[in-house]
């Protein structure tokens, strides 16, 4: 009895601590959710409640009426998809080479990948700006895709290298003995097996580009090329002019792809980044 009580006590304490920590984790998101469905008058109330007194879809309607918001979504989608594709295609053979080949250059390449994750964003921003200006690609989606690809390649390489290294080399050798060329072995044997890892790396490149703000702020100038982040930035500028509800609705929508995709892929990502292999 006493032992059971002690156990229950502990469980309650743990749950309580979890609730406190989770309040911190979830609260801002709940506020955003609540603002999305509130009238402007209630958002500005001095005694805020998370559950709206009166539900409204006005904020969402207003947002959907804004054609530029959709252009932002569309721009972000285009950029993120192309970035995901380019990064994966460029990094996959490289990851294979780094994971499987013992050569003199290997430690240097690996060292650089780790080092490059430590480089401040601003160190890359200035030369990239210079380069984009010289080829007249500032304020263009193509230019931004190039920047995002460059930015996400080291992490993608690191992740993919881990996933390739986790694939048993015996299977590769067996395929080779059976007369598989390296390309065929790669596409027919290895790729289907490490697909979750490749997908994870791609998804994180996608979300990285979808969420990115700093480069977009530095390189984009005109409304036509604004990404979703830049649209949100504009709305934040308008906040206070009774657009808080719309800003909340836009923030909520912008967050959804990340939340949904992370829910599925974070496990592989965490394992890949901190461990170099997935068990």
């Amino acid at each position: 009895m006493s032992r059971k009580m002690k156990y229950n006590c502990r469980q309650i304490m743990k749950l309580l601590l979890m609730l406190i920590l989770m309040t911190f984790v979830v609260f801002p998101f709940l506020v955003c959710l609540s603002h999305t469905f509130k009238y402007e008058g209630e958002i500005n109330s001095l005694t805020p409640h998370l559950i709206p007194n009166k539900f409204t879809l006005d904020n969402l309607k207003e947002l959907f009426a804004d054609k530029e918001f959709f252009r932002g979504i569309f721009n972000s989608l285009k950029i993120s998809l192309v970035t995901m594709f380019l990064t994966t295609v460029l990094a996959l053979p490289a990851a294979y080479a780094i994971a499987r080949l013992r050569s003199r250059f290997n430690p240097a390449i690996q060292g650089w990948i780790v080092l490059s994750q430590m480089i401040p964003v601003i160190t890359l921003t200035v030369p990239l700006y210079l380069f984009l200006r010289s080829v007249r690609l500032t304020d263009s989606l193509q230019g931004l895709v190039l920047v995002y690809t460059i930015w996400s390649i080291p992490t993608t390489l690191w992740l993919l290298k881990g996933f390739v290294a986790g694939f048993p080399i015996e299977l590769e050798e067996a395929a080779s003995i059976d007369g598989c060329g390296i390309f065929k072995m790669f596409t027919k044997v290895m790729l289907p097996n490490i697909l979750p890892g490749v997908l994870t790396a791609g998804i994180f490149a996608f979300i990285g580009a979808w969420n990115e703000f700093f480069f977009a702020l530095c390189f984009l100038k005109s409304n036509e090329s604004f990404t979703l982040s830049m649209k949100l930035y504009q709305y934040i500028g308008l906040a206070g002019q009774s657009r808080d509800g719309m800003l909340a609705a836009a923030s909520l929508l912008a967050s959804l792809p990340g939340i949904i995709l992370f829910a599925f892929f974070q496990k592989y990502y965490v394992a890949g980044l901190t461990d170099g292999s997935v068990k």
């Binding site: 749950l15 920590l21 989770m22 911190f24 984790v25 979830v26 609260f27 801002p28 998101f29 506020v31 955003c32 500005n44 001095l46 805020p48 460029l90 053979p93 490289a94 080479a97 080949l101 050569s103 250059f105 390449i109 990948i113 780790v114 080092l115 430590m118 401040p120 964003v121 601003i122 160190t123 890359l124 921003t125 200035v126 030369p127 380069f131 390649i153 080779s176 390296i182 979808w210 969420n211 703000f213 700093f214 530095c218 949100l232 930035y233 934040i236 906040a239 800003l247 836009a250 923030s251 912008a254 990340g258 939340i259 992370f262 829910a263 496990k267 965490v270 901190t274 461990d275 170099g276």
Partner: protein, 293 residues
């Protein structure tokens, strides 16, 4: 056993890899470092000017302020992130009701775009109709509404809160992943040897987490150093220069005043600061690779 021919073929794969890394990663970085030693401004030729930028930064009087700011913010954030993440990881690794739900909710701060993150926190910190003031007033913890983003006493902590919020999920999930690899028989053996749970935690669990801690914390430091939107959009580096960080100052120098040499020079000073951490990071990575092979 792979034959020689296929090995040579595989080596060919390293060439595009090498070129790709040289062109897309190494070159822009080195050029960025070099630009920190030039007087580059838009529309002017690039001229090497040695350490002039650094003398200029030093003389501007900002250098001390911004590095003190980022140092303090890093220190508090890293400690808070570690403590909160460890607590979350331990709770999630134990028997706790609704574990799946907590785990799922934990992803939110990580997945939210930085700019949406700011819009969410703005609603919490809003001095007039924000939740934080309303709740604290109701609990009589404060007498009058606090201006969280413009009050010199609070602005730093407001920004730190946002840092911590954004970084906790990744660290917590990384620590959790490592905790789940602690073999259960170690626990049994420890209990048999008479270790209580505090001792078990101190001597077995914590050392097990060392490497993950080193890696995640180094990453967190770099992420916070690179964080721009939290300060820029919440406080604009203010009030005064209370939340000014190298990243915000570099952006202002480059993209507001067009002084790109200066901006890159700030980047270089940040590189010097993280070099120490790179050292720790590589060390732990190497130790880990050795452990695996």
């Amino acid at each position: 056993m792979t034959n020689k021919r296929s090995k040579r073929k595989k080596l060919l794969l390293l060439i595009p890899t090498g070129i790709m890394i040289l062109v897309l990663s190494l070159y822009p970085t080195l050029r960025g470092i070099y630009l920190g030693f030039t007087n580059y401004r838009v529309g002017r030729p690039i001229e090497f000017n040695g350490v002039d930028n650094y003398v200029g930064i030093y003389n501007s009087g900002y250098l001390g302020i911004i590095f003190k700011n980022i140092g303090l913010m890093l220190l508090i954030s890293v400690i808070a992130i570690y403590v909160i993440s460890l607590a979350l990881a331990l709770l999630l690794n134990s028997e706790i009701p609704f574990r799946g739900l907590w785990r799922a909710l934990l992803i939110i701060p990580w997945a939210v775009p930085p700019i949406a993150k700011i819009s969410m926190w703005k609603a919490v910190f809003n001095p007039v109709c924000g939740y934080l003031n309303a709740y604290l007033l109701k609990l009589h913890l404060i007498d009058q509404a606090v201006n969280w983003t413009t009050d010199i006493n609070f602005a730093k902590y407001t920004v730190i809160t946002v840092f911590v919020w954004g970084c906790v999920p990744f660290t917590a999930l990384s620590l959790l992943a490592t905790l789940q690899q602690v073999p259960t028989d170690i626990h049994e053996a420890a209990v048999l040897d008479g270790a209580n749970s505090v001792k078990y935690f101190r001597y077995i669990v914590l050392p097990y987490l060392n490497q993950t801690t080193a890696i995640t914390m180094s990453l967190v430091v770099v992420w916070i150093m690179n964080d721009f939107s939290s300060q820029y959009l919440l406080t604009k580096g203010g009030p005064g220069s209370a939340t000014l960080t190298p990243m915000v100052e570099a952006y202002r120098q480059g993209f507001t005043y067009g002084n790109f040499g200066f901006a890159s020079a700030y980047g270089n000073t940040m590189i010097v600061c993280v070099s120490v951490l790179i050292f720790i990071y590589i060390k732990s990575m190497n130790a880990r690779d050795k452990g695996v092979n």
